[in-house]
Amino acid sequence: QQPVQSPQAVILREGEDAVINCSSSKALYSVHWYRQKHGEAPVFLMILLKGGEQKGHDKISASFNEKKQQSSLYLTASQLSYSGTYFCGTDLTGGGNKLTFGTGTQLKVEL
């Protein structure tokens, strides 16, 4: 039931773009994206809800394909500060209090 993320790891040069994907085998009510820097706590990036509503930071963009149970996070014009591990979390019910986090994608941005 754990969502699968791809790629597992990616290295970018500053200014390059990247896409991180999250795929579930079950129907999703919402998808949540978090970034975790080494030694720190996960920090919220975005929520994508069934029906199209999105909540999150203006500089982050993402998509949610409800039919395919997939979400993608788009990182454009990457900066050094984007480095970290990105997690998607999925909510299957919409009525509960449980997020199942994905396998994580390690992103490193270099000069």
Partner: protein
């Protein structure tokens, strides 16, 4: 002001001991969570509380006992610690799953 705080930040102990981790949030949220992140960075929910009531217990061994004295606090007590309990434990709080969760700084537990 710290939104979600945890104590201690580091905990090193011997197998078989009992230990507690404390969590407090000053955001006024009704829902609090405990997550375990293992050495492979797999982040898994353990418990969820809403307004002091247990909502989710993710088949965690009963050696783990959460307690919520009020909706701003959620503590985690662990009995008879095992090597496999070594991990980083994160407390988090939120309004609900239609909104963001705020994570505490984490407690790194090492069982020797």
């Amino acid at each position: 002001d710290t939104a979600v705080s945890q104590t201690p930040k580091y905990l090193v102990t011997q197998m078989g001991n009992d230990k507690s981790i404390k969590c407090e949030q000053n955001l006024g949220h009704d829902t609090m969570y405990w997550y375990k992140q293992d050495s492979k960075k797999f982040l898994k929910i353990m418990f969820s509380y809403n307004n002091k009531e247990l909502i989710i217990n993710e088949t965690v061994p009963n050696r783990f006992s959460p307690k919520s004295p009020d909706k701003a606090h959620l503590n985690l007590h662990i009995n008879s610690l095992e090597l496999g309990d070594s991990a980083v434990y994160f407390c988090a709080s939120g309004i609900g799953l239609a909104d963001e969760q705020f994570f505490g700084p984490g407690t790194r537990l090492t069982v020797l």
